[in-house]
Amino acid sequence: MVFSSLEFLFRFLPVILLLYFVAPRRLKNPILLAGSLFFYAWGEPVFIVLMVLSSVVNYFLAIAIDRYRDTDKSRAALIASIVVSLGLLGFFKYADFLIDSVNSVFGSDIGALDLPLPIGISFYTFQVLSYTIDVYRKNVPVQRNLISLSMYIALFPQLIAGPIVRYRSVAEDINDRTHSVEMFSEGVHRFTMGLAKKVLIANNIGLLWESAIATSEPSVMLAWLGIVAFSFQIYFDFSGYSDMAIGLGRMLGFRYGENFNFPYVAQSVTEFWRRWHISLGQWFRDYLYIPLGGNRGSKLMWVRNIFIVWFLTGLWHGASWNFAIWGLYFGVLLLLERLFVADLLARIPRLFRHIYLLLLVMIGWTIFQLETPTEIFRYLGDMFGLTDIDIVNAEAWYLLKSNFILLALAVAGSTPIFKTLYARIIPRLSGRAVAMPVYYAVLLLVSTAYLVDSSFNPFLYFRF
């Protein structure tokens, strides 16, 4: 089930909210667990077994890690947890990718397994690992309640599209959390904004990208419109989901960290990745980059570590070479920035730093979203006028005109303008007791209207 659906908004959500808030404290976690399992099973009625298995196995392994602390058995339990978790992820997500790659390199003919990818497996696997590794590192106490641990892994707000919530960050909330009208209303604010971002902006502007790649009349202008549209689509979609997750979490008494911080206002690739999918970057930093040695060893080791981390960051987004190359592309850019470009960037006007970043990110998105090298090079060729196409054409002008207000909203929404306005103006607004609820009601109604009438509501993370 996805948040941006009628069955979530008008079936699942009211039922879970009612049960959750009516239930006594000791029943709240079991209710959330049962609800979350139902939420997951709605979309994955078979692979729910996998998630339950992962939860139970890691529950016992974490207890073993704790019980045999400072012995080889503890270490063995941690290794077992990593092997089981990554093994399931590897098997279900990467087996066919590996088979396909081996076949093309060695000319072999190993048959594909054609396994469907369990939704959200990359997210919950990383969450589970953050738990067992942190227990091993003594960063968190072991969780002895199976229901509480399973609830943490399966908790529906962040289950299928993140953010990757580390156990450490919610350990206290799991055992004992408070609820208040303030938190609930903050949750409403985040959820409503996230829903509007996804349904009104991302889905809508996604159609512009679809038009650009499906066109029979390509032009340079249309290629640029298309990639700008996709850049907005993925940002508003992904950050919209994160907002909805954070909002739902807050309604239920959980405080999740931020996952996006206006990434398109960044002035360098380094800064961009501090602002984009923050929970993934932090996970790789804490559980891979630093254990590999980070930048503490020789320059060569550092370069190696960067490449490993970014190769795997790319692959995390999907079992396909274009994702690996997309990751490595950013790895190279980050290295270049640290080694050479940072000084140069510091000396050029801010506007050019923005252009530099946006250009590189948009080129990155073509690698991310178009799968084959032929498609990627053709699209980049179209963007930079290297193919034999018109600079502008009627379709591009029409699409620009049709999407102008939406694009303007997307530009403004990618910057902190609205947030600043919200923070400065709302507290001073005399009619805010009326204005803000009306504003949320309008957003909810219009989002529902688009859900009722639209057939285009893609789930972009089915490969994550």
Binding site: R432, A433, V452
Partner: protein, 376 residues
Amino acid sequence: MITPLTTQLKTRHLPTAFVFLVFVFGMAALSVLNDAADVSTLERRELSQSPSVSFERVVDGDFTEDYAEFLQDQMVFRDEFRFAKSFVERQVLRRSENNGVYVVGDRIYDKFYGIEDHFIDRAARLINEITKDTRSANVLLSIIPTKAQMLDRNKYLLSDQNELADTLKENTEAVYVDLMGLAKAGNERFYYASDPHWTTQGAIAAYEILAGALGFQPVRDYEFEAVTDSFVGSDWGKAASWSIDKDTIYLAHNDLLDGMSACRFESPETSTCIDSVYFRDRGDDLDPYDVFLGGLSPIIAIENPLAETDRELVIFKDSYAHSLAPFLAQHFKTVTLFDLRFVRRQFILDNFDLSQKDVLFLYGTSVLNTDPQILN
């Protein structure tokens, strides 16, 4: 732990939480209580019904997929939400298009963009094959433009439908009779405001051109009867706009037309025959345009006992021909309409001798450009 009621709580948090809860629980309750409708008259289609539950259907995901569709189709205030979305698209985002149609003034125009050359080439080839198979001496071809051809192509994203018509004209052996000029600015009355079809006036204008091409002096003496003044065309639901007026469907009458009878052959065994070309009982159908010859059918035959000639006409066609055919039938003893989407070409050749008949291919650009089954 409940926090004390501060000013902020009263002015901001309580109203926000209240509105959200009222919205989510209110919509949930109303949508549960809402009786499922069978059809949407606005959208001209049957609506999904509550899906059946079985272990297999749940496991393979069919149930949840169908349930999502059911909920979307049966959502309480569905029409109102669709109108609201259309309003936001047009008035807030300032788009001229909603669900693939343009709303211009008080009329709706189907978007016609991108000519599917492979469909058109295939249509030309098949028209030539059928022309040869009929062994008829007099074969005509006419292409009906959609009304979007009237719009300014600098303002809207539209292809020139003349290109499509020209391809067929140049690549077929039939005698081409040009109807493309009907869809020019000023001729808005030739098409319904809320439906892609041409009005009775439009059909008469096309008839006069075709009658001339067939060597007849067109009949110009009619009386008109308004059979409904609240015709909601199939584009109305797509546009979902309050600004569109409902259409009036006029039926033409004179002695020749009133003397005709029509038979619809749904299959070799079932047929419906009436002493009129107007199927009034179909006027209450989801699509009131079905009043003309009763709507789509594999084979429809019109007989004109008052005809002054023994000539017979065969039309290979789509639905645009339904309001036009009776006018042509004024000059023929019989007019037989074949819809190749529902009857195979070989069946017609095996069962009908077309060699002594006049043959007309009459197709709309929108159908030619989208329906690969059109000339099977």
